[in-house]
Structures are given as C-alpha cells and as structure tokens.
Symmetry: C2
Subunit: 429 residues, 2 copies
C-alpha cells in the first residue's frame, strides 16, 4: 500500500504535539500542518504496539488477546455484488491504515473535510489494533435469494448452527451478513476502528448488532479471569504452536481456496446470572467449573496448567472432577479429540429490570453482563458444535448462564498487500 506523504498518523502525532506544530504556525484548520511531519519520520516512536494487518492469516485470531474488543455484525443492504466488493476494498484499505496507526483515510491537506476520520483515536497508541472480518450465511442466500451469485461457494463446513438446548438467542444480538471485530489494548482505539468502517459502509452495510468487551490480565501476563472469578482460557491450545494451529484452527486444503489459512468463528453472547453465582459456596462453584478458583488448577491438582485427571475418584468412588462439570464436558478426550481456540471477552452492559420467578419473588435490577464467548476452529462441525451439543444439555454451569445471541462467521484467509479481504471468494465465481 502506498503511503501518502501527507498522512496524518497517530504514530507521528506525538512528534507533532511535541513542538513541530508550534514551529509550523499551526492555526485554524490545523490539519494543514501535517505536511511538515513527513520529513521527520526518523523522529517517530518505534513501531511498537503494532500488529501486522497483511499476511497469510488474518490478525486477531492467534494474536495474544488484547484488553478490549468492539465487535460489530452487519446487514448488507445491497443486492449488487460490486457494492460488496467495493465495500470490502474500502474496508481493507482503511483497516490496514488503522492497524498501522494511521487515520482511516488519507488526509487531503487542502481539504477541511472532517469525514476522513473522527479523530478520537488521534494521539493514542495503536494499541495492537487488529481488525478481523467474517462472512455470515446471508452472503450466500438471503431471504431465499442468491443475491451475489455466491451460493455455490458456501463451504461445506459452514453449516447453520443448530438450536442448542437452552438457547435463548435474541434477534438484536444474533447473526449478520458480515462480522468485523476490532481488538486493541484501548477501548477507544477499538471503537474508533469500527466507527470508521461503519461510516465507510455508507448504507451498503449497516450495523445489525455490536458488543463491547474487555479482558484483564494480571500484571506481567497470565490467564484472564472472567466475571465468574475463574481463569478462562487455561485449556486453550497454544497460539505459539504453529502445528497445533494448523491442525485445529486454520482451514487447510479441505476448504475452498479463499478459506485456506482462514478459520470459522463462533460468537456467543452468554449472559451470566452474577447475583445468583455470587451467592454460591466456593466449593460448589469449583465443582461446577471443575477447577480451583484461585489457582485455576483442575480439581485434585496443584497448578493451573496441570493436566486434569478425569479418571481420578475420591474415597467414595465419585469423580474428583465431577461428571457434569464444565471442564470435564469440554475436555478433548470426551469429545473425540475436538479442540477449539477460545478468545473470550467479558461484557458489561449495565442493568435490566428482572422479576424473580421464585420466592421471595424479588424484583429489581440485575446485571446485563457476562461473556462474549468467541472461538475459532478449522471446522465448526467437529469444533464448537461437537463440544457444545453435550455441554448445552449437561453442564452444571447452565444454571447460571444463558446464551442470548451470537453467530457463525467464516473468516477468510489473510490478505496480501494489494488484495482485499475475501477477494478469492469473489474471484472464484
């Protein structure tokens, strides 16, 4: 991607702020001062806090989890294939720029148009921004119609998610023709990115639903705890193990060309009855999860990453890791080896009015908070669907959680400079 010499970038904003602006006599309509920066590239801060946008795989999948996310699902408002292609081209260019710490569009230094960027991320660190795109079922058939002539390209693995036991998915948090997830170590940077893409969509695509989330790690790193107070992600395959990732996460030669190096993403908005959970005894919580709360170790073990002994029984012959505990039901060895890469965020959307359906029939406010569960896999049929089918029926945790939204999205392979996201899909027909 060629760089406009007049680009106003977040990375070089610091240089501007530190005196160049004053020297150049920045006045009214200050964007016109940006051309003085080009010559000062050597003074820029190191390219830290940048995640590469271009590559074999999309970023934001095996990227170490950032502290914040803003997820948006979109409906396509057009029936024209070219509109979709143009949108994806615009989104690709803008996303690559923003991941590089720049404004969404090049700044024309003779223009006073504000619409190239909302500027709320100006001066902030790029914060390891990643922007990950996915294609929903509506790209193939929508209202019974093959709008874009892509129906024949729908991958075999891209099945519809079944209605799982207990599902209470609401329309306003479910589905979408396209998904875009921004992740960054700053909530303002993540929201900024989505906001620019929404503006660029210009009524070709429109937001269907969004979800902000956060994931806080101990200083120095370690597995984040979710709002249940338990470490979440301990059992994940290692994102550093390329072989594991190739086996579990990335679509290989079995998939269509455009999905190779891509992955299928399942999102579930899981509301947690925190008030209820908080009243449980510690021991009961641990039995439910199958792990110790503080250490994160599987029950009967000492350290977080100790392997669970699912065969171990206590003196009465009961499993140490209970039969219907979350850990046991999710374990690969109980699911024909099925594994997924979880990349969960907590969410916290305020409070709703709720009336209890049990004595003493209290009514009042309860948190609308929980987990924006997200997972990646090579094939959802042998990944999330395989694992969750059983869990949705038996997991003790279901007393406290309700799946209220989500979707399945095919995240195409990565994009090389000059291409646009999903280009190989549109070229294949």
């Amino acid at each position: 991607m060629s760089k406009c010499p007049f680009d106003f970038t977040r990375r070089n904003f610091l240089a501007l702020a530190s005196g160049i602006a004053a020297a150049a006599g920045v006045g009214y309509g200050a964007r016109t001062a940006v051309d003085v920066i080009a010559a000062k590239k050597s003074e820029l801060p190191a390219r830290q806090a940048l995640e590469p946008f271009w590559g074999k795989h999309q970023s934001g999948i095996v990227t170490p989890v950032q502290t914040h996310t803003y997820f948006a699902a979109f409906d396509l408002l057009t029936d024209k294939r070219d509109d979709v292609i143009k949108l994806l081209q615009k989104w690709t260019t803008a996303s690559a720029r923003m991941a590089d710490g720049q404004s969404a569009e090049p700044v024309d230094n003779t223009s006073s148009d504000a619409s190239v960027d909302s500027d709320d991320a100006l001066g902030l660190s790029p914060s390891r921004l990643t922007i990950t795109f996915g294609f929903g079922a509506g790209l193939y058939i929508s209202d019974g119609k093959d709008r874009f002539g892509l129906a024949a390209e729908r991958p075999e693995a891209f099945v519809d998610l079944p209605k799982f036991n207990g599902d209470q998915l609401v329309e306003t948090h479910t589905g979408g023709d396209l998904s875009v997830q921004a992740c960054a170590d700053d909530p303002q940077v993540a929201f900024h990115a989505i906001r620019q893409l929404v503006r660029l969509a210009d009524y070709i695509a429109q937001i269907r639903w969004t979800q902000a989330g956060f994931a806080s790690s101990p200083p120095g790193g370690g597995t984040p705890r979710n709002l249940m107070g338990f470490k979440d992600g301990t059992g994940n395959p290692s994102i550093k193990d390329q072989e594991e990732m190739d086996k579990i996460i990335w679509v290989g030669n079995e998939g269509p060309d455009w999905m190779r190096g891509g992955s299928y993403m399942v999102a579930r908005r899981i509301r947690i009855a925190l008030e209820h959970w908080d009243r449980m005894k510690l021991a009961f919580q641990e039995q439910t999860v199958g792990r110790q709360k503080i250490s994160g170790a599987p029950l009967g073990k000492v350290n977080e990453f100790d392997k669970a002994d699912l065969a171990a029984v206590d003196k009465d012959g009961n499993y140490i890791v209970p039969e219907n505990s979350h850990l046991r039901l999710a374990a690969a060895e109980n699911n024909d080896g099925a594994q997924i890469l979880r990349r969960p965020y907590s969410y916290n959307d305020g409070v709703n009015f709720t009336a209890e359906r049990w004595p003493p029939w209290r009514q009042g406010m309860e948190y609308d908070a929980g987990l924006l569960f997200m997972c990646y896999q090579r094939d959802p049929r042998t990944g999330f669907i395989k694992i969750f089918d059983k869990m949705s029926k038996f997991d003790m945790m279901n007393q406290f959680v309700t799946h209220v939204g989500g979707g399945l999205f095919a995240c195409p392979g990565g994009t090389q400079e000059g291409e646009f996201i999903g280009q190989r899909l549109f070229q294949s027909t």
Copy 2:
C-alpha cells in the same frame, strides 16, 4: 483499620502465584492456603497503583483521571436510619479494603464461602481504584416522607437541578438516593468494586442505574479526546492547585460540617449523534467547539493551553471564537467567573434502532454512545447550573448532543480511618 493476617489480597496474589502456592500444597478449596502468605509481606510488590481511601477529601475527585469508570446510582429500599448507617459502614470498610488491593471482606480461612468476594479482580493490579460516594435528594425526603429524619440537614446548596432546555432525561438513567462511582485503570477492577458493594447492600439499597465509561490518554499523558474527536478537559482548573480546588471544588465553612471538604457532583449522560457529527466539515466542528480539533488550541491560537481571546474578531468583525460556540459559552468570564472541575468519561452502550425524521427517512441502527459528563463544584447553583443554563439554550453543540440522564449528588467530606462515609451527617441530628 486493622488488617486480618489471613487476608487474601490482590497485591500479594502475585507472590502466591509465583510458587508459594505449590510449596504449600494448595489443593481443593485453595483459599485455605492464604495463611502462608502473611509471613512473606516483605516479598510483596511495591504499593504502586494505590490511591489512598482515607483522608480529608474523598478520592476520585481530584485524583488524576483513571482510564475506566463504573458508576452506580442506588435506591434505598429501607425506611430505617440504622439500616442506612449499617450499609454505609459496610461500604466504607469494603471500599477501603478494595482501594488497598484486598478482597471486599476478610477471608475466613476455615470457610468455603464464596460470598466474601467474587474474585474476578484477583491477581489484577489495584489499578488506582477510587470509590466515591454521593447522597441524592431521596436521602432527605422520599415520596413526601422524611424517612431517615435527615430532612433538616439538607444543605442549602443542594438544590434540585432545574429542567434545562432540551433535557430528555429518562427515568432509567436518572436520579438515585445514593451514588457510588468506581474509577480504575482497569474496567474489571472498577466493575468488581461496585459488584461487591451491591452484594453487601443486600436489598437495603438496590441499583437504580449504572453507567460504564472510559477515558483514553495519549502515551505519556495529555488531555483525553472524547468521542467527538476533541480534547475534553483542557479548560479545567488544575487539580494540583490546592488553592484553586479550595475555592472551586471543596465545600468550606459555608456548608454543614459533614459536607466540609466534600463537593457536589453533577452527572449527565449525554448521548452524542456520532453519525451526524461525523458528516460535518472539520471547520464547522471547530466553530462549534471553539477549538481546533488536532491541537486543541482555542480558535485563533496555537497551543492547547493558550488562553482564548474572546474579544478577537476577524476582518469582517465576527468573533474568531464564535458567539454560540461551546468554549465561549462555558468560559468563566461569560459566567461571572463560574468554574467547575470536569471529570468526563466516554460511554459506548451499543446501538439502538432509530428512524430519521428527515429525508430520506432512513431507519437503522445508531450508536448509544456519548459522554458521561461529571463535574464537581463547591456549590451547584454557582457552578453547573449557572454555566449550563445558558449553554442549554445557545450552544451550537446542542444539535449533536442530548442529555438523557444524570443526577446531582452531595459527596461528603473524606473519611478518617474508623469513621464511615457521611458519618457526620448521621451524627448531626
């Protein structure tokens, strides 16, 4: 406050995690291992990232702005004064503990009760957590009744906020008998704190409304930008200037004893029509705000902290800082010297369905995002009310913002160890 030697603290969690747990043979019900930590105090990380809870003033007012907030307004469900006192005692103790990086309640190492803390902040940095309490009008008279015998103590300065021009306050984001604001450099730490206080309230008080927010600053510091892309807070009095704070923020001898060293807080949930704002020209945005977008300087000036020249006119005799610009209307010199300390956070609550009321009558999703405006002042009559009365009528920015919620809360003076929040109010009658 005495320290329980068996306290499981977030600060010493790192020591635990780094091997002591294993040495002590942490097993099922891992909290029983915490007693081994007491002897290891010398190994604890430095007391960084801690804001003092006790003091002449409540923390969270002149504290440098943290990156995240979780605000909660509560309704009191009791008519008993003693219930309120007991609640405030519990809240004080728990808040002081959490601000010190500890669990909300002391852990009894013989118990398996989970209810002492939800543990989701376990292992996280204290993140400069502050918890700031305020008293709403319902503490004095509620439904025409002096529930707690405090009506005579209502400070003269604590007037009801008038209905300002353009106000569209909704019940579900307005008012409350008590307010509690947690601020921290981690959203999970802020939410954790409120969640513990809600549990401790145990139906004596119940959440009325909540609001999460964020404020992102450039690396190395500087004024945060709000979602309009402009720096927000430049014109604030300096929190480091004790004399200014005494003059503008802190209640002095004119107030009742319990409010001395305290401050009045106005909260306003201000929804911003971001989609609309983003379509405006840069020059128009700057005229609206009265500042340059990139530098933050007043129009006609060069640097962010240059003093605005409100008398300056262009060659046609028009004010450089426009007559109805946000900056001009808010300026102290146009408000008989009135000043407030703003402590704003951006909020981002997803999207709502909206139907435009103008051609082409588009309908679709719009952001429910904007500003959780918060300000502190010695007297709201000569602070926010004075300043905002005119702004609500004339500010050009009103085309883009709607006040949809908020409240006025009297934040009592700080608490000394052994006291509870607002104790002097309850002792004064």
